[in-house]
């Protein structure tokens, strides 16, 4: 499988010369194997994915972790949604009170957006998920609720012997007892365990996190400890706080890894990065 990052910024797009290295678009990953295309989240990064997408692709599966605006804001700007020859499947978390379709309709309605869902040439096919396991082409996908305000899923995507785990919004400290010592009581453990590549929320430095406990995101320090607990092979830290510049992100990573040895690779995720398995 081939994985491309089209956006890894959190909360709000953050374009600007100070954010050239890590990019300013919000969450969006492309995962491909031949004709099968998975898109993880529809943040502002999905707009560019739509522009550069192979015209031969006729079916697209968009898996939303949750419906916060930074993960859905690009949907209306995703060109394939307006192509009558393309079938789009939208997956997202169940809620106790309202269907996924109705919640997505809120985005495609006044005053937020001029085009209604019913105006699209093909109505997207909606799939509600909770603790689910299913297959799309060569991919085996597992979803699970994780700790973040509102219904939020983590995804574990298996392709042959390789596993990619994706939890862009996840607050480890609130979602774990005895963190980071007890996997049985750690939110997201089953999604990430022994993954070859883990994309995980690391929005803040620890001092930033202390000011934002309960907002649904993690400190880089905790993200690294979680990756260690899960014995992943590579950690790509995701959902960069929009006010953290390239220089600050480099410094946060340096402070958390300097002088320490880890049994896996650690990086700050960069928009435009490509991974092949």
């Amino acid at each position: 499988m081939k994985v491309k990052v089209w956006g890894c910024r959190g909360s709000l797009p953050a374009p600007g010369p100070e954010n050239i290295s890590y990019g300013g678009n919000t969450s969006c990953l492309e995962i491909r194997d031949g004709d099968t295309l998975l898109v993880l989240d529809a943040g502002s990064g999905i707009q560019r994915l739509g522009r550069f997408l192979d015209k031969k692709v006729k079916v697209i599966h968009i898996l939303l972790t949750h419906l916060h605006i930074d993960h859905t804001m690009g949907l209306g700007f995703f060109a394939p949604l307006y192509n009558p020859d393309v079938e789009v499947h939208l997956y997202g978390p169940s809620s106790s009170s309202e269907s996924l379709l109705n919640r997505i309709r809120k985005y495609f309605s006044a005053p937020l957006f001029p085009v209604r869902l019913a105006d699209l040439p093909n109505h997207p096919v909606i799939h509600e998920l909770d603790q689910s396991e299913f297959e799309i082409g060569p991919f085996r996908i597992k979803s699970e609720f994780i700790c973040h305000p509102g219904p939020t899923l983590g995804y574990r995507i298996q392709h042959g012997a390789n596993v990619l785990a994706y939890m862009p919004d996840h607050e480890l400290q609130l979602g774990s007892a005895n963190f980071p010592l007890d996997p049985e009581w750690t939110s997201g453990f089953e999604i990430a365990v022994k993954a070859d590549l883990l994309f995980h929320d690391g929005a803040y430095s620890f001092s930033q996190y202390e000011q934002k406990v309960g907002w649904g995101h993690s400190a880089v320090r905790d993200t690294i400890q979680f990756a260690q607990l899960c014995q992943v092979k590579k950690l790509s830290i995701f959902h960069h706080e929009p006010t953290n510049t390239d220089e600050q992100l480099d410094e946060i990573l340096r402070r958390n890894v300097e002088g320490k040895t880890f049994g896996f690779e650690i990086e700050m995720c960069k928009e435009g990065s490509v991974y092949e398995f």
């Binding site: 169940s94 809620s95 106790s96 909770d130 609720f145 609130l174 979602g175 007892a177 049985e184 009581w185």
Partner: protein, 131 residues
Amino acid sequence: MPAQSLELILGRQFMDSLSIPGFLVDTEGNLLFYNESAEEVFGLKFGETGGMRVEEWATIFTPMDAQGKLLPPESLPLVQTLQSKIPAHGSMYINNLNRERIRITVTAFPIIGRPDRYLGAMAMFWKSELP
């Protein structure tokens, strides 16, 4: 051991932060967690016992009526909640750490995750001496 669901993890976190005694069980009634205040009533430490199967902890927590007669399981709020998946409430007597009989009141409620996943139950209890 597979990881617990998010709802049970958050239930444990919530209970761990309370000063009212409480415990958390799975759908079978196996004890998953009890908090510090419950430790004081049970005379046990969660760090030492960990979770307990229902057969094991039923021998520790022995509810009685005012005359000291053992209560049948189906009369207990937690058992009612586990069977019906709706909240239940009631009072009973137990022996505390000092072997004194005390009256407690228990409120149990089911833990049902999105969209409709039954995962277990939570019970809170407090001393409720009759006037």
